[in-house]
Symmetry: C2
Subunit: 350 residues, 2 copies
């Protein structure tokens, strides 16, 4: 089959790799229908984080059709359309039971070793899915359904944005600041609206993304950065700052803004993969203001059933985060478009 | 009158100062009956934190009798025995209404300027108390009551320990790690027991303090530090770490331990004044484990009514945190005893 392989900075290739086969009895083999590029994939694309020493598979968001299952797989069946969360998990350990599948005792990531062999990356034609019963969520739709882009967001960005605002304590009537206008920030806006937030303030500066945010329910936009952004935030909140802040970037400047704009007793919910956050969080200002910091790598598997139900009935549609669609074979163009900010998020169709 | 004045490193003196008088109509004048030395006072005593440029008043925990009140004071009356929380607050602003009196819009600290003049420190014979209605809590006991030491803990350490475990999410059946065997750590143990914790693991190494902790409900003690402490914590928790950690020290090593022993999805509740926490909190491990960090300067005023009721009916007795009693005039001996760890906490009787 063909799959995406990272070879070096700004060098991803769609190339021939070994066909995956079932290895563990809990495996499923999934034919990918749609996949996408994640903002966090760009860290490796740019080699911002220490890159791997050699070529590696990449991609962790996909929707596909089950081709084959191992003998221990019970709930997932061949022919089903399934959504894969961005980590795989057994669904049965204590962490999974607690809704923290990202800390599953027998789970792992895509494009790495696990459960007896290579677990394929999501940006390929086929994927061996370990712990299929725990990992995959079946959706009763056809593979040519118009819902596929929306369903694909549930594998990561929509659940991740949701985690940010849940952890930030957003509820009915809330005011929330969302830092970052990437696909996760936009999803956080939509999630906040869904949870009943009345005022949703987006910190972002890209007009195309702000336009999407408007359709998702943003009420205010702060286009400045740094001190100017903090000043605007103070103006907007009568000098008080925000009780809820959703940090959806993961860079140092975004964290500084989050710390500056949170009000005493408030909460920073964060989901931005902390890349380039070279300073630790200073304890003293958190202490003085009694600020709570909550969040982390989002257990999207825990949120998937609820979000799926609403996506299926049409009440939730995060699909506008995709503004580019390409054949999977042109995955490299998807990366470069996102790298150059010509695209918010690229959908890849197999 | 005489009051405690900090003059320099390891130099506090009980000396003649101007008698306080009512300045603002919301003031009360309180004659101190009992006061005490706080672990956080030792930071200034040792000049660990950048010290003031000249002599300053000190002390922020006291119980006394109201001598006189300003014309705007309504609920507090002369003759009442009152407990002063470690910050003063108006009791009426939005932060006070939200139970965050430490962020009061018209509040401040003891031994500093506020509301029209000097606000006396708590380790003196008299104190001008600003915002008396919001700040003080009256207790229906005589000034020679045996309850005074217990009531005095409600001005800081008991409420602070309580804040740590509340923020750490402790409830019925919880397992909690309490880092630090100072008066706040011991109070956190007692607070955890009060909230129904079943397993309370104290990280401490002073046998006199551990003995108090035993009477407060500790079930396990880890006497090691650093990696050895983390290993013992892993053993005690089946390798999982603690869902709730109460950080009651505020030093770098304690924070490192807190980060190491918290389990995925767990919460660090912290109240240790962050002195010498030179490193910020590293975001990546928090992110990977979905750890929540919550806490800060404790709004003990918010907790006072409930804790007071239980102290009055005898169901709560934090007084064993005091293991030394001195006349107020010998305050310097109280400091040196705590500085040299000959005493957990020194009570000063006027």
């Amino acid at each position: 089959m063909r799959a995406t392989v990272w070879h070096g900075p700004e060098d991803v290739r769609f190339e021939e790799v070994p066909d995956p086969v079932l290895i563990a009895p809990s495996d499923a083999l999934v034919r990918v229908v749609v996949a996408c590029v994640c903002g966090s994939d760009l860290w490796r694309y740019r080699a911002t984080t220490p890159p791997p020493s050699g070529p590696t598979r990449i991609g962790h968001e996909f929707v596909g059709v089950v081709e084959e299952v191992g003998s221990a797989v019970g709930s997932i069946k061949p022919g089903q359309l399934v959504i894969a969360p961005f980590v795989w998990s057994d669904g049965s350990c204590d962490f999974c039971a607690a809704g923290l599948q990202t800390s599953c005792r027998h789970g792992g990531g895509w494009g790495a070793q696990g459960d007896g062999g290579l677990v394929d990356g999501g940006q390929g034609e086929y994927v061996r899915v370990p712990q299929a019963d725990g990992t995959l969520v079946a959706a009763p739709v056809e593979e040519h359904s118009e819902l596929l882009p929306a369903l694909l967001t549930l594998s990561d960005v929509m659940g991740t944005g949701h985690h940010a605002v849940v952890k930030a304590g957003v509820g009915a009537g809330s005011t929330v600041a969302v830092i970052g206008d990437g696909a996760v920030g936009l999803s956080a806006v939509l999630a906040a609206k869904r949870l009943g937030a009345e005022r949703i303030v987006l910190f972002g500066r890209h007009e195309d993304r702000i336009a999407v945010a408007r359709t998702f329910g943003v009420t205010d936009v702060i286009r400045e950065r740094g001190d100017a952004a903090t000043e605007q935030a103070a103006e907007l909140t009568g000098g008080n700052g925000f009780a809820s802040v959703a940090e959806c970037v993961g860079e140092q400047a975004a964290w500084r803004t989050a710390m500056d704009i949170v009000r005493p007793g408030g909460t920073i919910g964060y989901v931005g993969v902390p890349t380039g956050v070279t300073e630790g969080l200073p304890v003293r200002p958190l202490f003085n203001k009694n600020v709570t910091v909550a969040g982390g790598i989002a257990p999207v598997r825990a949120y998937l059933p609820d979000l799926l139900a609403e996506t299926l009935d049409g009440s939730l549609d995060p699909s506008p985060v995709f503004d580019l669609e390409l054949p999977l074979a042109q995955v490299a163009d998807g990366y470069s478009a996102m790298h150059e900010r010509r695209s918010i998020k690229a959908l890849l169709r197999a």
